[in-house]
Structure formats: C-alpha cells, structure tokens
C-alpha cells in the first residue's frame, strides 16, 4: 500500500511538472490537445491543489500547522474506494434528502416571507425584528433546541439544514424587492397596472436576480450545516460518517466525507444557479472583462 502510494504520488508530481513547463512554453500542441486554455487552467488548479497537499503529507510538514496526522490524497482515495464498495448510496441518499427538504422549505418560506416583508411596510414592522435576532445564531447552537422541539431526529436534522438556507434566501429576497426600480413602477402605472400586475410583472421579476443569488448561497449553506445536523443523531449520512470517523480515530474517511460534502454542495449550488438562469432568459450572463 505504502509503496504503491509513493509510486502514484511520484506519477502525479511528474505530470504536474510536465504540465507546468508545457504551459509556460505555450506549446501549441498541448493547448490544442487540452481543448482550450480555460479548461487547462482549471485542471491545473486542481492538480496543484492535490499535488501540494500530497507533498505536505509526505514530507510530514510540521511548522505551526501539523500535517503528520492529516490523511494524504492517496489515503483519501483509498478510503473512498472502501466507501464506494460498502454500499454508499444509503448515506448519500439520506444526506441529500435532508438537505433538499430543508432547502426546499427554506426556499418557499424565505421567498414568500421576503416578498411580503420587502413589499409591505406593516408586515416588515411586525415580523422582521425577531427574524433579525434569530439570524446570527449558528446551526450548532440550535442542536439542543432541535432535540427538544422536534418529534424525531430526522425532523431536527432537516430543521438545521433549513436554518442554513433560510436566512440568505430571506435577506436576498427582501433586498431584491426593496430595490425595485421607481422608473419601472411608473411605467406600470402609466400602462394602467394596479397592485397585482405591478407586483407580478414588475416587482417579482425585478427581484429575481437577487433571489437567485440567495438561493445559490442558501444551497451552499444548507450543506454547510449538514455535518452539524448529522452529529445530532442517525446512522446514515455523509456528515455522520465524517463525525463517526473522528470519534473512532479513523482519519482518512473524515477527509473523504468533507470532500464529498464539498462536492455535493458545489454541484447542487451549480444546479441551482443553472436552473435560476433558465428562469431568467433576459439576463446577460457573460462575465464583463475590461
């Protein structure tokens, strides 16, 4: 195992160095074979990340930060292979279900409350302050109450992922509604629009870009809170594996769990981003480089 891991790491490093020199030279052939420089740069970033990590572990780097006990990428790959062999879907399914349920509830509640608070001054006066007090409380601090308040652990866990997503969605929606363009309100009025049309055709679409970024951030946060949630209870879940491995001093699966959460979080945030873009075909989404 150790020998093979060293061999693999040397192979990775070799590749990395070769890639860098090729990139520096601006070798035409290499650029062509890697389709385009953008893809190439992104692959390079991943390669650098894992390469440096492997290097730090292998040299047992210890200066203020100690890498001696940190699992190396190759050990993590090993843990991943074990994990994949051991029926992983029940864990992934359990986690995804919790996050998606929490997120969906947060999206429905956050957007509708946000629109009401942003649009009606009286509703803002009535409910905004208590929400502002609850907002800074981190998910971890909710654990005891979640245990006391909910009928079972599953509901408590979903609640914690909900908390993560709810506030970013709420705040972005409120900001989006409040920033409605005065000019467009007048446009609506001069075309005969009353409250309902102004709301449906001007305020809500105008707030959509802001709501969308709230959703993307909320989705990320929801995964963020997953480990916290799955500390609460359960026998399944990616966060559960992560925590359980720490408790049993089995280190490589911790990092695998972390990365898995990162990957699933990034993927679902990306999915939310694409979906919301589909809902806003009028937007120019290309980056403006000067």
């Amino acid at each position: 195992m150790a020998g093979s891991s060293r061999k693999t790491s040397r192979f990775l490093l070799g590749n990395l160095i070769a890639a860098i020199t090729r990139y520096k030279k601006g070798d035409r052939a290499s650029k062509k074979s890697l389709i385009n420089p953008k893809v190439f740069r992104r692959c390079l970033s991943l390669l650098l990340f894992f390469g440096i990590w492997q290097l730090l572990c292998q040299t047992k780097f210890n200066f203020f930060i100690n890498f001696e006990n940190v699992p190396s990428p190759i050990e993590v790959v090993g843990a991943t292979v074990d994990f994949v062999k051991s029926n992983p879907t029940k864990h992934i399914k359990a986690s995804a279900f919790r996050v998606l349920t929490g997120f969906a509830t947060a999206a429905v509640l956050g957007i509708s409350l946000g629109i009401l608070i942003g649009w009606f001054q009286k509703i803002e006066d009535l409910i905004f302050l208590p929400l502002e007090i609850l907002r800074p409380i981190p998910a971890v601090a909710w654990i005891p109450l979640a245990i006391l308040m909910f009928p079972n652990a599953e509901a408590g866990m979903i609640y914690l992922t909900f908390i993560g997503a709810f506030f970013p969605i709420l705040i972005s929606t409120i900001r989006g509604v409040e920033s409605t363009d005065m000019l467009l309100l007048r446009v609506g009025q001069s075309l005969g629009a009353k409250q309902w049309h102004i709301f449906k055709d001007i305020v809500v679409p105008g707030a959509m870009p802001s709501i969308a970024s709230g959703l993307v951030i909320g989705m990320g946060n929801s995964w963020f809170c997953l480990v916290t949630a799955e500390i609460l209870a359960g026998r399944y879940g990616v966060g559960y594996i992560t925590w359980e491995s720490y408790v049993t001093s089995n280190y490589p699966p911790i990092v695998m769990g972390m990365l898995l959460i990162g990957l699933m979080g990034a993927f679902s945030a990306y999915a939310v981003d694409r979906l919301t873009c589909l809902l806003m075909p009028w937007r120019i989404t290309k980056k403006k480089t000067v």
Binding site: R186, L191, W282
Partner: protein, 272 residues
C-alpha cells in the same frame, strides 16, 4: 386592414388638456423649494405641443403632474374635463430613460397594457403586430431590451404607450440620449405616426430645433420658479421634412426662441 386595428386607430378620443394654476413645491433639506409657480395652459385635442426650457426649470415636473405621478401642491389638471389624480393608461408616457421591462420581449412589452386591460389574446397579437410593424420592429419582436439599440427601445416605448389608445401622449425628452442621426429619424417617425393618429402630444425637450421641428405650439419656460414664460405658435407648413429646418421662417423662429432661452439659462446660473 383588420377590424381590430381599424377600431383601435379610429376610435381614439383626443385629449383636451387643461392645466390650471399648477404649483408644485418639494421638500429639500427641511425647507420647501417651489419648483413650479402658477402654470396655466390649455391644449386643444390633437395638438402637438412642446415644453421647452433649460434643464432644471420644471418641465418633467409639469409632465409628471399631468401623468398623475405627483400631486400638485395647488392647482388642477383636467383631461377631457376629468380631474387627474392618479396615473392611467389614458395618458401614455414615454420616458427619457430606456424603460422597457428587461424581462419582457419587445412583443410582451407592447402587449403589457392590453393584457392588463383584459383584451383577448387574438386581438392583442393583431394590434401589437400592427404597431411593431409601424415602427419597424417586427423582426425584433422576440428580442429582449438589452439586445436592442437605444433608438429601437424608444420606438418600442412609443408604441407601448400608443397601443392603449391614450387620449394624450406625454413624452419626456424621449430622444435626448440618442445620437443626432437617430434622433432625426425618430422625430420624422414620430411626426408621421402623429399625422395618422392625431393624438394630443405634450413633448418635453431642451432642444430648440427639436421643438420647432415637431410642434404646433411651444411653451418656453422660465426658471426660479418654473413657469411658462412665453407661448410661440409654430406656423411652419406640414408635413415637415429635413428641408424645413433650413427655411428662413425656421431660422427666424430659432433665433427668437434662442434669445428667450438664453436669458433664462443665464438667470438660472446666477442663482446657483
């Protein structure tokens, strides 16, 4: 021509606009600033009138009061003897800024007013198509505003207001942001549409040539506080083409108005 379109074109009520003793003040840093003082005028149905004056003299404020966007501090606005107290589709508005709804296509933008009114789908399509064709935007019916040039956006804004058969069309420096060439084309297009529909138009501008080229009558405005300084009848023959702008009558009027505006501009600079 389709019946629906014919009805929309022919059954227009032309607005008779009366502004009586209109005064407007705004609160600024705690104290009141009088922006308009006792503005009075009457505009006959089908007339094309320009409000002309240096920037800051209160042109937009008059137009906003006629539209119903702001409430006068004192005085009244009547359109066809009905008191104006809120915005309505009966007074179409074309804004200086590009103001198409970014999330609606050209077609949907023009269709919006009819949709609010509850016009059936088939009629809506026929009317919108007619008007888009009128301003040469048929090809761009499915484009979003950010894909259109400034001139195209303003053309769409004009027909978006007209499709509702307003009795008055209020235009607040609609061509000010366009380049000179496009502005000329837009002015000619506007005149040709107006000569067909003969809707009452109140057009705000700070450009003397634009006012002379377009209007039957010009209200030259004075500053501090804003008021109508002088009324000028523009008797130049219609239809007006680019050539009208080099006729001796046009040049004489231009000089006369220029002197008036100059006085006011100097006055507004002194106070600051």
């Amino acid at each position: 021509m389709a019946v629906v379109v014919e009805k929309n074109l022919l059954q227009r009520v032309r607005g008779f606009v009366e502004v009586e003793d209109l005064s407007v003040s705004f609160k600024r840093k705690g104290h009141c600033v009088q922006v308009l003082e006792s503005v009075n005028f009457k505009i006959t149905p089908g007339e094309f009138v320009c409000l002309l004056g240096p920037s800051g003299c209160g042109k937009s404020t008059i137009l906003n009061a006629i539209a119903g966007f702001i409430q006068p501090t004192s005085g009244f606005v009547f359109v066809n003897k009905r008191h104006v107290d809120a915005p309505s589709a009966d007074r179409g508005f074309v804004f200086q800024q590009y103001s198409l709804l970014p999330w609606k296509t050209t077609f949907e933008n023009v269709e919006f007013g009819l949709k609010i009114k509850g016009t059936p789908k088939a009629e809506r399509t026929e009317l919108v198509d007619y008007y888009l064709n009128l301003v040469g935007l048929s090809k761009h019916r499915h484009s979003y505003p950010h894909q259109l040039s400034g001139g195209m956006q303003q053309r769409a804004s004009i027909v978006r207001a007209l499709v509702n058969s307003p009795s008055v069309l209020l235009m607040d420096e609609p061509f000010a942001a366009l380049d000179a060439q496009t502005r000329h084309m837009m002015q000619e297009l506007l005149l040709s549409i107006w000569s067909d529909l003969k809707t009452t138009v109140i057009f705000v501008t700070h450009d003397i040539e634009e006012a002379l080229f377009l209007s039957d009558r010009i209200f030259v405005m004075g500053v501090n506080p804003g008021r109508i300084k002088q009324q000028i009848d523009v008797t130049l023959a219609r239809p007006r083409l680019v050539d009208s702008m080099i006729s001796p009558a046009f040049i004489a009027l231009n000089r006369q108005v220029f002197e008036l505006i100059r006085e006011e501009t100097l006055k507004s600079m002194e106070v600051d």
